[in-house]
Structure formats: C-alpha cells, structure tokens
Symmetry: C2
Subunit: 443 residues, 2 copies
C-alpha cells in the first residue's frame, strides 16, 4: 500500500512532484536563485501582486527553441493520441499486495495531478473482480426477465436507438479510503481516495426498459443486475433507484465505454457504491426481495464493534478531500498557494465546502467551481498563504440534504475500527516545516 513511484518529478509540476531529498534541495536552490524571493501574494486574488517572478531578461527565453524555428508534426499524426511525454509519470497505479490476483485488483486514479471534475477515461480507476475483457458488441445481449409481462433480449443496436440521456456522475468504490479506518495512514491521495472518478455517461434510463417490458414495479421491489464476465458479478438494486436515475450506459465522456470500464454496456447507479455499477451488463431481473448475492453477503458489508455486519449500506455519503497540497507533495516556498480538492455526495448536490489549515479549529468557505451537479464531483478552490510553520489541511463537505462530512473519530465512535467500507471521514494532510506533506490521523 505504498507509492511505488518515488521517481523524482519536476519542480514546475506542483501537483505530481514526488521529489527525493536531493532533488528537493536542488530544486530549492535553483528556485531561490531564479526567483529572487518567494511569491508574496495576498490571500485575495484581486489584490495580488507577485514580487520576484522571473525577469524578461532571463537567458532561458532569449535562445529561440526548435519549436519556434522549425516545422512541427502534422495533424492526425498521433491518431487517438495520449498525454504529453512529460506527463508519463501521472497514471493510475495498482497497489501491490492489496489483492492476491491482479485480475481481481484495483488501480487508483492519480488525484494529486488531476484537475476539474471530469476524469479522463485513461485515468479512470479500475476495479475488476475477474479481469477485464474487450467484448464484441455485435455478440453482446441484455436480457430483462423476472416479474415482467414479457421477458426481452436487446442487441446493442436496439438499445442505442432508444430515448437516451447524458448525465455527469461520480463513481466511488465502497472501499475507497478503507485503510484509514485503522491507523494505516496511506501516504498519497492516489491511494487514500483514488477509487473515485467522475464522467459524463450516455445511455437509456432503466425506467424506460422496465416500462417497455411491463415490469411489475409494485411487487417487484428489487432489480438484480448481472455482468457477463467470469466473476458473475450480481448486485441488488432497489426499485426506487431503478425508477429514478439508474442508467444502462454505453458511453462515457463522449466515446464508447473503455473495455476496463465495462464495454459495451454498464449499469450506472448514481450515488451508489461502484460495485453496483455492474460492468459487461448482460441481465436484469425484477424480483420481490433482495438477492443476497455473494458480493452482498460476504463483501461490501460493514463489521460493527459488536461483531454484527451492516448489509446493503450502498449509498456513498457526503465526502471531500484536498487533492493539492496532499500527501507526498512538497511545498517549495512560503507564500501563496491555491488549495484545491473534490467534494461529492450520493444524496445530491454539494452545498458547501469548508477548509481548515489548522487542524479543524477554524474553517473558511471554499469557492465551488461550476457546474455543481447532483451525485457528481464538485471541484473546490481556496486561497492560502503558507507562512512556513507546520499546518494541518482539512476539508469538510455539506450536501443539500444537510448531511455534514464527519470527523474520522466520530465515525469510529459508532462503527469501530474494523470496517473496510464506507469511510467518508475528514482527511488530514500535515504540512511540515520542510514543506513536505504527510497523511496524519488527527481526529
């Protein structure tokens, strides 16, 4: 559960600067001579000035680089393309040892170097129960059966002709931030919170399909969703969700689903933990009681202090995390920083995010970036001038239903320390005098 990638980064790329001690000192020296003195910008952007930005006569800008004098590469030369060669370091990463088989494992999204609310498909976290497949869509079918007037089987072509919707939603694994229940302070936000992504999905509402099949939505209080991969992943979806905003999606972020995200068809269950977003979706069955599938009985349950298990706790409660500065990053100077992070709630829209830089004694309200959408990530930003002394950064989200993100110890008081799933506690990042940022468990 440690960061496998301590490769020295580059000083100019603040969000992903995993620096070795030598590189840090080198960077500090270079920066001192280059900038003269630190950015001394006020907390309010409108009153801001920078003393000591690089001068126009810096020799680095006098020599004309090749890209200014030569002919560049032609259009379409990169085909579908990929990020810059200078961004190779930023990628989703497996956490070795987390599971026994890498076909049934996790790769985490690198939140520390990401921006806004949209997760590009190439950085979307992965969680497979028996590996991923690239299924031929012409052979794929979706069956709907159970308490319906007429059981049906749909081809992809038939589904893609139906009334479609496009919506932006977050997906979070129920086990996200799971190691923090105990006293394991996972070092970086990629591994504490990286089983989290947010995309624009396009598909048909489940309510449309249930209507077409004449589902009995009174007796049929549940829908079983079943995937086509070897794990036979099945999950029970309450009918209230099914008739509300559950989608059968074929596209994410403008293009067809990626194979690792369930191509060609995935169930999208807004606000509900990722395991219910069944990939390679092949069957939906309407039934009159919960199905108690293996992943509802043995996994994704919460072990309480008295030894009992909470079951069907699927909703992802209000939560937030600061992504920059965060564990593993280094502040190279005193002065102004933009503190940024993500907030979300399975119950609806984010109403407010507060940020503390003193471990929760004082809180300031962050700016929320538009759009603020129900059951979607919301990006927040807040000004901070670091005076060089130790600080503890925290964020606390409040959603439109009034739910407030709890402190970790408030959660532990009720649920103990043996849970894995459903930790929405406040995350604390300690900034040391050296500028290094650590994960600490304060309260």
């Amino acid at each position: 559960m440690t960061d496998r990638n301590p490769t020295p980064g580059r000083i100019q790329k603040a969000p992903e600067n995993f620096l070795s001690p030598e590189k840090m000192e080198q960077a500090r020296r270079a920066r001192r001579s280059f900038m003269g003195k630190a950015l001394a910008m006020g907390a309010g952007a409108s009153a801001a000035t920078v003393a000591g930005a690089a001068r126009a006569d810096d020799p680095a800008i006098v020599k004309l680089p090749a890209h200014t004098t030569g002919l560049g590469q032609p259009v379409a030369a990169r085909g579908y393309g990929s990020p810059s060669q200078w961004e190779r370091n930023l990628q989703r990463r497996e956490s070795p040892g987390l599971t026994r088989v890498s076909a049934a494992s996790v790769s985490f999204a690198p939140l520390q170097g990401m921006f806004g609310i949209i997760t590009p498909n190439g950085l979307h976290f992965e969680r497979h129960h028996q590996g991923w497949w690239d299924i031929d869509p012409s052979q794929h079918r979706l069956m709907i059966n159970g308490l319906v007037k007429e059981a049906r089987v749909f081809t992809m072509d038939e589904l893609m002709r139906l009334p479609q919707v496009s919506r932006i939603h977050f997906i979070e694994c129920g086990a996200n931030t799971g190691m923090e229940w105990g006293n394991v302070a996972v070092p970086t936000v990629q591994y504490t919170h990286g089983m989290l992504s947010c995309c624009e999905y396009t598909g048909v509402l489940l309510s449309t399909l249930l209507d077409m099949c004449g589902a009995d939505t009174k007796k049929g209080r549940y829908v079983l969703a079943e995937g086509a991969d070897g794990s036979s992943m099945t999950r029970t979806i309450p009918m209230a969700n099914a008739l509300d905003d559950v989608m059968i999606a074929w596209a994410m972020n403008g293009e067809m689903l990626r194979p690792e995200n369930g191509y060609p068809l995935r169930l999208v269950v807004p606000g509900i933990q990722g395991v219910s977003w069944v990939k390679y979706l092949r069957r939906l069955e309407v039934g009159d009681k919960p199905y108690d599938a293996k992943d509802e009985v043995l996994h994704y349950v919460d072990l309480m202090p008295d030894g009992t298990h909470r079951q069907y706790t699927s909703l992802q409660e209000v939560k937030s995390v600061i992504t920059t500065p965060s564990g593993g990053q280094v502040l190279l100077d005193k002065g102004y920083y933009n503190v940024t992070g993500l907030a979300w709630s399975g119950r609806g829209r984010i109403k407010r995010v507060d940020v503390s830089v003193d471990g929760g004694r004082n809180w300031r309200t962050a700016r929320l970036e538009n759009p603020v959408l129900p059951k979607a990530l919301t990006r927040f930003n807040v000004d901070w001038v670091w005076d060089g002394s130790p600080a503890v950064l925290q964020s606390r989200a409040i959603d439109e239903t009034g739910h407030v993100q709890p402190r970790l110890n408030q959660l532990r008081a009720v649920r103990g320390t043996r849970s894995i799933y459903h930790n929405n506690g406040i995350q604390s990042w300690k900034v040391a005098e050296s500028g290094e940022v650590f994960n600490v468990q304060l309260n």
Copy 2:
C-alpha cells in the same frame, strides 16, 4: 473534402455505420430474420413497447462466451489505455486537399459517433498553423508586457500555484461548416461540423494575471496573445473579454493539455472562434489598439457580396446540428429513433432547440440534457418515429439572449456565398426511402 473512410461498419453501431450497399442489404436481411419485425415503439417513451426484440431462446446467447468462463486481463494492464478494438473506426480524420501542408491542416472530430457534451481528448479536433510540438514545460515561459506597471515572466510552476478555475466551454473553428456557404454539400457531419469540441478547462483567469502585473485596463483596450510555435500565431483579444472569462489553461478534461492542443499552456477565449485560443501561449501584450496580425487581416475575415471584408467577427453565433441521424448513416428500419445533436452559442446559454423532420414546416421542442452551461455545448434529444417515407431533419437553436439560428438562405441574403467563416446556418439532413441519409441544402 470527402469521407476517406467508407469501410463497412457494423449494424449494431448506429452512429458510425458507414455501410456499403452490399453490407446494407446483408444487414437488412440479417436484421429481418433476427428481429422478426421492426421496433414499433410509440413516440412517447413512457408508453413504449417493443414488438419483436430478440427472444431469450436465441441461440447466440446460449453458448457461453470466453469472457464468461475465463480469467480476464489484470488491472493497469493497458496503462493509459485506449478505446475498444471494436471502435477503431471512430477517429478524427484529416480532410485531404483542404490545405497544402498537413502540418498546417485540420483533423475533424467524429461527431456522428460521439455522445453527450464532453469531447474526449483523443477525439478533440486539431487545427495547426505550423504543426504541433510537445514542449518541455520546465523550459516554457509566459511573458506579460505592454501597458502594464511591471512586465513579468511566469514559469509553469508559478502559474499553477495561482488561484485556479475549472470551466466547461466549447471551441469551434471560425471556418467550421465553411464549405456549406457555396453549394458544396459535404457528406458527413464529421466534415461539416467536426471542427467543434467541448472540454472542461482548468487554469488561471487572465484578469488575475493582468491584475498582478498592474495592467492599464482603460488605455489598454486590447491584449495580444502570441504562441510559441513556428507560426507565431498572434491574435487580438478585446479587453472586455480579457477581464471577463478568458483563461490561461494548462489542463483539459482533468489532465494536462495534449501536445496537439497546446501543451503546456493555451489561451481559452469562451464564445470566440478557435483561432484566438492561442496554443503554446508564450506572451500577452496589453495595447491600445487592435494589432491587425496576419491572421486577422488575411484570414478569418468575411468576404461580403460588395467585395469588402468584415474583420474581427470573432464571436461564434448560436448554432446547432443533428449528429444522429446524419449524412452517411443509414436507417435500417422504420420505427422509433432517438434524434440527437448539439447546440451552442458564443453569447451564453442555449435556451431552446427545435427539431423539424419535414424540412422546416413543423417544429417540435427537443429535450436538453443537463448541464446547460454558458458558452458550452448542450446535448439535445427528441423522439421520432420514421414511417419509411423521405424526410428532412433540421435543428434550430435559440440562445438566452434571444438570438435564433438562421436558415442558410437568410445568411446568404446578407453575406453572399463567398464567405468561408462564420456559417451558423441550419443544417438539413435528408433521409431517403432507402434509409440513407444525405446532406442537402434546402433553405
């Protein structure tokens, strides 16, 4: 300016089905025997039923496929990943012959096979004036000079520490749909409207930088933006825009800009034609008059019927287009279709989109998908039951300022037929009795 890619597609993938006549007949036959009869769904989704969807006893679903019985691929096996092998056909494409040098050319986004409003970075259209570069961000600088109290040079690191915003905006080349001014009916929506994309950008507002440099925003009525590539692309930005919503962006859709989109720094000028979104941005100069740069004097001007040129017509007016069904696609059956498309306006939010299936005699209001954001693409959907007779599909957008998308002939009456730029006329797609869809210029 023709579609280079008549490769037969697959029947189940309606939006990208470029079918040969043989393949079409083959698909029709297969479909008839497979489905029994066509989808006979009513126009209202809530009252919908399908007669003739595939039966559960279809032999295709009885044999268990490999992905159900075997172990799949491990997490992170694909690294950054790419779309499914079954989606290779869908990519941005150059239009051969459009320009003399492919380093100064265009690749178009495949709108006919895209969904929602977010353009994935791998399908974002390209327009280079002297090719693309992958610039080392540690060497890149942004200078601000001219009518400012103190000229400054910023490193990427310094910029990325500043107050940041994230916003979703469309970008459209001023020459998009340019061939339609005359009587050239370009066959597919990829080539008629594919110089259009929409992403979530993250960066610092230009107003923040101007404030930091003490810009004279009264005498300084304009800002010159200059790129670092060999084309020395420079564009004049009015101060009103500069102080409003213009951004210096380093990220799109959650990750750093792609090299072909201006990595590491791009000017984002919401609502304004793409040429002003200067890539590889290296300098901003505050001045007291427009700069009359080469791309403002010789290009991106509108040739009027009297022989004069309109200059500095930079705003992208209200516009929309149906992306499915669209030119080059084939409707394989009568019955229900979801008609979908995009609408946008450089003046603000889309208020309404109307759709006609009879060449503009009657109009119905389409559903707008959330979010509906200012100066961003808006996705619309509307139900349609095709009775098998010829039809002409059109969409007409209205923005929140009251501007209405004009008919092509209304534009021509004022501006003649010799323009290249700034065509926001209504697009007409004719559905023939055969199901084939053609670009026609009706009115």
